[in-house]
């Protein structure tokens, strides 16, 4: 595995180029597993495109809310150095030991002195269009990228600054800057940085629709791009989240989205690829816009194929249509005209029946595609990284995060157009690939986390600080946050109160630390979003301020406040005050909690010996960790062995064979064939499981587990499957072609039917791989016999991303595509001579067409089997369709809520081979974050028994689900083993004398909360 110079150790540092969500995730995974990371970002702060998005599909999570904690973690990480703005200018050396030349353009404001007070921007007289707001609002020449960016430091844009333009005049910022941070003679710097590997995560640029003269993007103000629309919807955007159109700032009543602008188009641009995300973001924008609209918005999406192929996307699409009333029209628009005397636009389109229609809209949103920017192409040239025909980084489906240059990895939209979860997976995957290369240098450059001395507050009366968050307008738009703040000041033990625009931003963390010091606070309450996402962030801030991190409470006034009581602001405010009062009463009673360290078993367990399982096992083994690989069957390889080719044409079998050989021969991997996991005990870092091999049990100790049990083809009960020998499933067709089945080889016509068992009420999901698989097989049949008539009967052709090239190739080769709807599915009948007759309603002619194919392939759904037992053993959830449900759809795509357990491959959701491999590597990276540590922390929220009060009734011993409580005969009292205690508190509720306390949730605290919730003194 090592590509380093003979005998010399590789460099234990990695450079991540680009700091959008992918770059940030890669940096965090590496920094958390023992490497020093340089993050090179071309803008003045990190966050990328995700920071500019309003909400994210399919959960409609607030984009900034879920991203911000990651940015803060990145910004405060001891082993991450952010260089922003900066660009890579050159590279030399070899994998394991590169020297990268980085240019850092002058900021003209010294970040060390800047306190981000914003006075420079206030005083700056020069207004310029704000790129972050897509030019819809102005910023000043002295500016900050956006208010939550990291590092939160201002900069001067020399290209527009009057001082630089007018030869030394103005200097308003310098005059007013309270810290003397402005440095007009700041110079660009160049640095040579030594790293062992480079990860490219430079992202994409949106397609510029200016050349589409027919859409009048530049001429009509109410024709906007989807990115502009994101900013219009955003609470922190130019219109503060009010849905208005740019021309007259009035609320639009009819908005249309036009799909595939700059995608799937070689006529007006060079982008043959599908951008893979636009269908979903258009639906999301339509749904959110309807929510924002006060007077009922008509939202219409004009599309060619609806590509909702991700996890939970199909249901999102159905809900948008059926529940939220978004209108979907299958048509590509060709003409947009002004409506004289108004700011409206009229569009002309042809519906599916061929009728020409005219319709007037207040506003058009162009769903612009994703492409590689010229800067990034230049970066690729500088680094000697090859691009493919669509100008994304060239990768192989078998090594999806490796570029053409060894030691240089890629993730995110530069690898190919993709959504956030896929980018995050690849980010972790690229971290895994880089770690494998640099394992020998782990912890050689990374610094250890400092211990912050903890102030002893046990003798102090409570001094509580309450911070009430605006969350932009997420909270402040409904709840009177100033009133909540003022109310908090009246509560017992509250010494300090304050409002924050975003309590989660990095500058607020610094501010909270300062306030703790200034006011000698010893407890903190933040009234904001939800403790489920943000408690760890604030607890870390307390720790850094020298307070025990448990001296904290979060009052949920957003997710369970402003967002659910939008129409009753007074009552929402009243509830917020009550929740704050309850939190204050609880935290006042909170004592510091002690944590201790537990050793980690540095061994990984992987369940499933398919490609995902093997890749996950190798990912860990190549990083030096021992791995147990458990496979139910008597061979490794899984369903991949039944596939012929990746969509890009590479043969799969040789790759799988090589993988099996590497796994079997790897000294760190122990393969258990014919085996199943039958018992799991323990917890992260210290699992003890039983692997049963043909009746024989083996005890296995491991620190982490990866579930990669794969998926299976659904066996349909329709379309004469198993009734007529000419009917095949997709994998059976691969086999028939592989074995040169005469039925197929001699066929004069072939039909493929898509969505067999997928996208039906019973299975409301898209199986993601079937469109591409059928198109690929159809092309192969055409190559076999160009005269063969090949038909694909489909509902939406979902050849997403660069797979669109294959679809194009199929059409060029004469494969015929016929669309059908769910309510008019094709009919398959057996003819008298045992042949097949397929009848389908042609959507253009509106007439039934009959085809007599000699072979019929059913693209059947992918399902998951035998997963419940495993889910129960690891206590991880499944979704309604039976797939494993990850901790967070967007940002934790391979983690479970249960620590130390991860998921990869088809058990998570149907996906093609390249994505399975990326996810498996990602799971390895996430597991390595744990296995690379020396110990894990335990304690904190656990139960304790007061032996003075314990009567020895042993009721607690009976109810503990974890066997953590023992009865000490000699003393006649019960005792809790803190390493085994998971902190559920069932024992505390059982104890008749209330002598068991769940620390952090004590009886006293609960009674205080109850009393305060119901206290008569009405809050406001």
């Amino acid at each position: 595995m090592s590509a380093k110079k003979q005998g010399s150790k590789p460099v234990g540092a990695v450079m991540v180029v680009g700091a959008g969500i992918a770059g940030v995730q890669a940096a965090l995974d590496l920094a958390n597993s023992g490497f020093y990371v340089y993050v090179v970002e071309k803008q003045t702060g990190i966050g990328g495109v995700m920071a500019a998005l309003d909400k994210t599909f399919p959960t409609n999570d607030c984009s900034m809310c879920i991203l911000s904690p990651k940015l803060v973690e990145c910004g405060r990480h001891l082993n991450i150095e952010i260089l922003a703005p900066a660009q890579v200018k050159g590279i030399s050396g070899e994998p394991g030991n590169f020297t990268v030349k980085v240019k850092q353009p002058a900021r003209y404001i010294d970040p060390a002195k800047c306190i981000a007070c914003g006075i420079c921007a206030q005083k700056c007289p020069k207004k310029v269009p704000d790129e972050f707001n897509q030019g819809l609002a102005p910023r000043k020449s002295a500016y900050v990228l956006y208010p939550q960016t990291v590092p939160l430091k201002y900069a001067i844009d020399a290209a527009t600054c009057l001082y630089f333009k007018k030869g030394g005049k103005c200097k308003a910022c310098e005059k007013f800057c309270p810290t003397g941070a402005v440095v007009f003679d700041d110079q660009d710097k160049e640095r040579d940085i030594q790293v062992g590997a480079v990860i490219l995560a430079p992202g994409f640029k949106i397609f510029d629709p200016t050349p589409y003269a027919s859409y009048h993007y530049t001429a009509f103000p109410n024709v906007v791009t989807s990115m502009e629309f994101e900013r219009i919807l955003s609470a922190s955007g130019p219109f503060e989240g009010h849905l208005v159109r740019p021309s007259d700032h009035k609320e639009p009543k009819k908005v249309a989205w036009l799909q595939c602008v700059g995608s799937r188009d070689l006529h007006r641009c060079d982008n043959s690829h599908c951008s893979a995300v636009c269908c979903m973001y258009a639906i999301k924008e339509a749904v959110i816009a309807k929510e924002h609209s006060k007077n009922g918005l008509e939202a219409t999406i004009f599309f060619m194929d609806m590509r909702t192929m991700g996890k939970d996307f199909e249901k999102y699409y159905w809900r948008a249509e059926e529940e939220q009333g978004v209108r979907f029209v299958r048509s590509r628009i060709h003409t947009v005209d002004p409506v004289p005397g108004t700011d409206d636009v009229q569009i002309r389109y042809i519906d599916e029946e061929g009728n020409i229609k005219d319709e007037v809209f207040d506003m058009l949103v162009l769903s612009v595609g994703l492409e590689t920017s010229p800067d990034v192409m230049e970066l690729a040239r500088t680094l000697g990284v090859d691009l493919n025909t669509n100008k994304f980084a060239q990768t192989s489906p078998f090594t999806p995060v490796s570029t053409s240059r060894p030691g240089v990895f890629v993730c995110g939209a530069f690898q190919g157009p993709k959504d956030i979860p896929q980018s995050v997976m690849e980010a972790s995957a690229s971290a895994s690939a880089a770690s494998a290369l640099l394992t020998a240098a782990r912890f050689s450059l990374a610094r250890k986390k400092p211990e912050f001395p903890e102030r002893d507050v046990s003798q102090e009366p409570p001094r509580i600080g309450v911070f009430v968050c605006h969350c932009g307008i997420n909270i402040a738009g409904v709840i009177d946050v100033e009133a909540v703040r003022d109310y908090a000041k009246t509560l017992p033990f509250v010494e300090y109160v304050e409002n924050n625009l975003f309590s989660c931003s990095q500058d607020t963390q610094e501010l909270i630390k300062e306030r703790i010091k200034e006011h000698h606070l010893n407890r903190v309450v933040v009234a904001s979003c939800t403790p489920r996402t943000h408690e760890p962030l604030f607890q870390e801030t307390l720790r850094e301020a020298g307070l025990n991190r448990y001296l904290f409470e979060l009052a949920n006034i957003r997710d369970q406040g402003s967002w659910v009581h939008m129409d009753v602001p007074e009552l929402a405010t009243k509830r917020a005050k009550d929740q704050v009062r309850m939190s204050v009463s609880k935290v006042a009673l909170q004592q510091p909690l002690v944590e201790f360290s537990l050793p980690i078993t540095k061994v990984g367990l992987v369940i499933g010996g398919g490609v995902a399982g093997m890749e996950a096992a190798l990912g860990l083994a190549d990083q030096g960790f021992k791995v147990h690989l458990v496979e139910k069957k008597d061979f490794l390889g899984g369903h991949a062995l039944e596939l012929n080719h990746a969509w890009t044409g590479e043969a799969i079998k040789p790759f799988v064979d090589k993988l099996v050989k590497r796994v079997t021969n790897h000294p760190k991997i122990e393969v258990h064939l014919n085996s199943e996991l039958t018992e799991v005990t323990g917890f992260v870092g210290n699992f003890k499981s039983t692997v049963t091999t043909q009746g024989r049990d083996t005890a296995v100790e491991h620190g982490t587990a990866v579930i990669a049990i794969g998926g299976h083809p659904y066996k349909p009960t329709e379309y004469l499957y198993k009734e007529n020998p000419r009917v095949f499933l997709a994998l059976e067709m691969d086999q028939a072609m592989r074995e040169k089945n005469p039925l197929v080889m001699g066929a004069k016509s072939a039909v493929f039917i898509q969505c067999v068992g997928s996208r039906e009420p019973e299975r409301p999901y898209c199986s993601r791989v079937c469109c591409t698989h059928s198109v690929e097989s159809a092309v192969k049949l055409k190559e076999l016999n160009p005269d063969m008539d090949v038909y694909i009967l489909y509902r939406d052709m979902r050849t997403y991303g660069l797979r669109e090239n294959l679809y194009k190739e199929a059409r060029e080769k004469g494969v015929m595509f016929i669309r059908f709807d769910l309510d008019s599915k094709p009919k398959v009948e057996q003819t008298a001579d045992g042949g097949l007759k397929v009848t389908v309603l042609d959507h253009v002619l509106r007439l039934p067409i009959s085809i007599h194919p000699e072979v019929l392939t059913l693209a059947s759904a992918i399902i998951v089997k035998d997963q419940e037992k495993l889910a129960k053993m690891f206590k991880v959830p499944l979704n309604n369709e039976g797939f494993f449900l990850e901790a967070h759809m967007k940002l934790r795509p391979v983690d479970f809520a249960t620590e130390g357990v991860f998921v990869a491959g088809l058990a998570h959701y149907p996906k093609p081979l390249d994505e399975s491999i990326a996810q498996a590597k990602a799971a390895a990276a996430r597991a390595a974050v744990i296995l690379s540590q020396e110990s894990i922390r335990a304690g904190g929220v656990v139960a304790i028994v007061d032996p003075m009060l314990c009567s020895g009734c042993q009721a607690c011993v009976e109810v503990c689900p974890f066997g953590a409580i023992t009865y000490k005969e000699d003393e006649a009292v019960a005792e809790v083993n803190q390493a085994l205690c998971k902190g559920c508190g069932t024992c505390a509720a059982t104890c008749p004398s209330e002598c068991i306390t769940l620390l952090g949730f004590s009886h006293k605290q609960i009674y205080a909360q109850v009393d305060q919730a119901l206290s008569e003194e009405a809050a406001g």
Partner: protein, 143 residues
């Protein structure tokens, strides 16, 4: 309705892993429900003792809602079995002392069931509104 002005006081004990997350999801999905509820987050519904619930009624709660994971989904394996036992016992006790047992409501709401959480709060609030103020509160006032 005579009781339309009655603003009931509803206290909810929600488990951290399922129902509290479901309540967050209701927020993320912007599902609206009546604002008379106050929430106490607990690690497991099995950690809510009968004393906690009784204290709520003593202090004037008109209704108490307990939310936990579905049976089989408990993050702590079987905490919610304890919840069922305790809450059934409590309801019997309430009946015994002459209180409507419907003022205590137990429901299983998962992290994915935002709509169910919102609907549960709507239904429970309406039910309590119909029942009127808790007799314990009236008794306390009379005393």
């Amino acid at each position: 309705m005579a009781d339309s002005n009655f603003e009931p006081r509803i206290l909810a004990f929600l488990c951290n892993w399922c129902t509290y997350a479901g309540a967050d999801l209701a927020g993320v999905s912007r599902l609206q429900y009546p604002p008379h509820i106050r929430v106490i987050r607990v690690m497991c519904s099995g950690s809510v003792s009968p004393h906690h619930v009784l204290r709520a009624f003593q202090k004037g709660a008109d209704g108490v809602l307990i939310g936990g994971c579905h049976i089989g989904d408990c993050h702590y394996l079987k905490g919610n079995y304890m919840t069922i036992k305790r809450m059934r016992f409590l309801q019997d006790l309430m009946k015994f002392v002459g209180m409507e047992e419907g003022r205590l409501h137990l429901d299983w709401i998962s992290a994915a069931e935002g709509p169910k959480f919102a609907q549960t709060v709507r239904d429970f609030t309406a039910k309590i509104q119909k029942m009127g103020p808790s007799p314990l509160k009236q008794a306390a006032r009379a005393a």
